[in-house]
Amino acid sequence: MLKITLDKISELLSEINKTHCVYAPVERSGEVCFDKWSEGEKVRLDVLKTSKSAKGVFFPQTEDIARFRSKGKELEISQAKTEGGPFVIFGVRACDVKSFEILDSVFLSDPVDSFYKARRENALIVAIACSKPEETCFCKTFSIDPAGPSGDVEGYTANGALYFEPRTEKGKNFCASIARLLEEGDEGAVRAEKEKIRGIMADLPFSSLTTKGWGKDEGNRKFNSEKWKELSDACIGCGACTFTCPTCQCYDVRDFDNGREVIRYRCWDSCMYNDFTMMAHGTPRKTRVERFRQRFMHKLCYHPENHGGVFSCVGCGRCIEKCPMSINIVKVMRAIGGEEI
């Protein structure tokens, strides 16, 4: 067990930054987002729910796919270049680590998304345990253990220090590369920390929330529930939940014409938007109710059906904090999950 005192974290990041890009929960104008860290920026390892989740590291908000150049009737198509090189994503919580697996099940299934895959392979994940879970956390519902966050290296904050435990070969090499800055730490401190976290988890308001009534075989029954209308009444159809959600992976593909060439890029998209399924002749999801239903059905029924029963939610609680109108997946799970139709 290795450790580093918390006051030396920026020194550590500088060290890593010499060879790797570092993504971390950085503070920008008072808000903490997962983003590329640069020298001098403040990293907030005490913040659980970064206002942008870590998914953007692998699945950026926008990225170029292709470039088209036309000359008369001729067309030239080239693949857009992507940034390469290994990087470290530092300070990811258990829920966000799990979200990478869920993104993997979509992007790495056949046909593999090469843009995503490249970034995924280049990443080393330093996860950290949640010392102070919050009231909006419900990762336990999805069998995620915030005291065992997984990743290439597992980290724990205890007694003013960050403890490291490599879990993969990659993680071991990483720890070796920063060994100069680390000192030997005590296993006991970490064990006590884990105990403490698990104790708090049992005490959370949503600790009794279950996925009962949801899953791969519930599709049609849940789809036809009458409660969707009432639940979606307050929804304003924005994409706050979708974009802050670490597992939402829908995207749009759009063209930008700069006068010389057309750049095709993909960007995050939200099933809450009315143009999401809009075709020339109309849309099958005409009202807010259908769009609202799609989002939750996808997370709680369709995704499990297509991916071996795994729900597309990790209980990070961002949607609870971010929804302008206080609608969230917990509310939906409770309202429709238990009912008999």
């Binding site: 206002s51 102070k132 308001p205 009444d233 924005c238 706050a240 749009d252 302008p324």
Partner: protein, 322 residues
């Protein structure tokens, strides 16, 4: 507070009973002690679920665009500042007045839970408001804080206790008052005093966090276009995301511009922003300029007033003139 809730419920129930209205738009309890979701209460019985307290920050007037046109009168619970939005919507003929029963509800300021979290108070299990203080039970011990320190941004420039439009109202309890407003333009002035470089960096820092979720637009009572220009594929600006910093600037400038002169400064844009971008500072800049250039104007104060951007004066100053 309970007394106020009871009075609201009584009034709503009576209106539904005598057939004057069919349903209510108000707030109901969410999953957490501070979670309040706007909801439609259909029928006398449903009114029982209605809730009103210091966490009902959401402005529900925008729901009335649709709700006022779907049969029967709807009772809308409107805080004083929300009534300005309704007035503005009425002015623009977006809400059918005959479909709305505006029930004003007194307000002594709404709490911003994010501000409580900013104070390091996390893991909130319960919150109670007692005499202007919030007593908070958390997973990590009990805490208290002054309500006045954690009010929503919009409450810091409270418009007062007056309802700009209402059919009836439920006043604040004795002893309670609306928050005393501070100068709402002080932050704008502070930015104006910065150097251009500082200003640019300030706004880049804020706007670069934008994820284009459109919460600001969708929550804004003044943004009531059927199809927004940013959703119109033929407009050439429907980029959906911001692949370049320019797009963020453009979206927010244009959004603020489109509501300039119509924005009642209800503060929803900043309240709903998941990235906590102080968007109201863009709108307030327009309001401040309008006040300085063309005379004091408060959108939504009176019904059917002529907005400053659909009006002119022959002696108006020339653009760019200081």
């Amino acid at each position: 507070m309970q007394k106020m809730i009871d009075e609201i419920k009584e009034k709503c129930a009576a209106l539904i009973k005598n057939g004057e209205a069919s349903r209510v738009i108000g707030w109901e309890k969410g999953e957490l002690p501070y979670d309040r979701t706007p909801a439609v209460f259909d029928g006398e019985k449903a009114v029982g679920r209605l809730l009103y307290d210091a966490f009902c920050g959401a402005n529900i007037s925008k729901y009335l665009i649709a709700a006022s046109k779907t049969g029967g009168k709807v009772i809308a619970l409107l805080k004083p500042c929300d009534t300005y939005s309704l007035n503005q919507l009425l002015t623009e003929n977006r809400v059918d007045r005959s479909g709305v029963y505006a029930l004003g509800v007194g307000c002594s300021g709404m709490v911003d839970v994010e501000k409580i979290r900013d104070k390091g108070i996390k893991g909130i299990k319960d919150i109670e408001e007692i005499d202007g203080k919030l007593s908070i039970k958390t997973l990590y011990g009990d805490r208290t804080c002054d309500k006045s320190e954690v009010l929503l941004e919009k409450c810091l420039s409270c418009k007062g206790e007056k309802f700009a439009v209402s059919d009836d109202s439920v006043a604040l309890l004795e002893g309670e008052t609306a928050p005393s407003p501070s100068d709402r333009f002080s932050a704008v002035s502070r930015i104006e005093k910065m150097s251009p470089k500082e200003r640019f960096e300030f706004w880049r820092g804020e706007l670069s966090r934008c994820i284009r979720c459109n919460a600001c637009r969708n929550a804004c009572p003044a943004c009531s276009c059927m199809t927004c220009v940013f959703d119109n594929a033929r407009s050439g600006v429907s980029s959906k995301a911001s692949p370049d910093a320019f797009e963020e600037n453009m979206f927010h400038i244009i959004r603020a511009f489109h509501v300039a002169g119509r924005c009642t400064d209800c503060g929803e844009c900043s309240r709903v922003c998941p990235q906590r971008i102080p968007l109201h500072l863009l709108n307030r800049k327009f309001i401040k300029d309008i006040n300085e250039f063309y005379g004091e104007y408060q959108a939504g104060e009176q019904p059917y007033q002529r907005g400053p951007l659909v009006d002119y004066n022959v002696s108006d100053r020339d653009p760019g003139q200081v």
